[in-house]
Symmetry: C2
Subunit: 211 residues, 2 copies
């Protein structure tokens, strides 16, 4: 176990390297250089070597990295040597797309429960799971041993739901609700805010066309 | 027009403030303090004041910010005083959810074209638009005056498609494909990589449970 805390930006690059290594491995490539990895990951080869040096020596000078061995190490570092049990809060269209988004299961994340407050949605079958009433949230988290919650709810209900999740011991939340959530230090929240992404683009276009 | 370049982290916070102001305005609140804005946006009131001071003085000491006036200014800064024409590359399930994701249109982003290479998908009606053959990409970008492209394609075809988009003058791309795109400096790419988000969570959980 590593005792140092790794910066989030490093963790994100490690996840990107892993994606690239899996892609290379799928194509039968046995080794690849820090230069190739850097070019595909949008960084420098010095950064790649630095990121990977945190975890010991994987590469041989002049030979590059063994793609499969490095992928195994990255999966260990990222905590991907086991599967995670995920609960989805909100059974709307975006949530539906996420459930079917193949990489979730491929990457080791299993959707074990879906909840909503809409009686029209409760009882619907979503693949292997049935949409349940959000009133059952605490029971589901406990019985299904949920570790990660994905929030795909309207902004106004997000904080209340997160408070309930924290009370039942959830430490990891992926938030699609367009709101900043307040959580204690030991709870990790990642935000995916599509409107904010689009607005950084409109800002760039606006100021680009004005140049 | 501003001559200074604003850091991306600032632009992202401005987009979050705007979201919060619109929410407040919807509830009829006329003014709000930098403290309230900071708490909801997950930052400090000093940071809020600093961010907003870039653009002149909006607040009155002791009275707070006029929510509606500040929202108008933020929309101007973010380039949201006009609508943007968006093309969607890939007509799969996630793309479908994005099209229906109400906030796109609300925020001023109109999906004017959808393309795919799958003959099963070409010709399908998606709301106001019909899925067209990706071979028509260049024609569509030109005829529909597309400004922003959203990539929801498999990783392997993403770079080739971006190269084609750049050739026809696109400067803004929102990328959901799990790959790092290579673009010239005057092209802005925002990446939404759901697997990377999940893996930063698994990293946190893994190292949390090991503590």
């Amino acid at each position: 176990m590593l005792s140092r805390k790794i910066a989030e930006s490093t963790v994100r690059r490690l996840a990107i390297y892993l994606r690239l290594l899996e892609e290379f491995d799928g194509k039968g490539a046995a080794t690849l250089s820090s230069e190739v990895l850097a070019r595909r990951a949008g960084t420098t080869s010095a950064q790649v070597r630095k990121d990977l040096s945190f975890f010991g020596s994987f590469g041989k000078r002049g030979l590059g990295y063994d793609a499969r061995a490095l992928a195994v190490q990255l999966r260990k570092i990222l905590g991907l040597t086991r599967r995670y049990r995920v609960l989805l809060l909100g059974a709307g269209r975006l949530a539906g797309a996420l459930v079917q988004y193949a990489r979730f299961a491929e990457s080791g994340f299993d959707i074990v429960a879906v909840v909503d407050k809409d009686p029209q949605k409760i009882g619907n079958r979503w693949g292997e799971v049935v949409v349940e009433d959000v009133k059952q949230l605490e029971t589901l988290v406990r019985e299904k041993h949920v570790e990660i919650a994905i929030l795909v709810t309207p902004a106004e209900s997000a904080q209340e739901l997160v408070d309930r999740l924290i009370t039942c011991g959830i430490h990891a939340v992926l938030n699609f609700a367009p709101v900043q959530l307040h959580v204690p230090d030991d709870v990790e929240v990642k935000n995916v805010n599509l409107a904010v992404e689009l607005e950084t683009l409109s800002y760039a276009l606006h100021h680009h066309s004005a140049r």
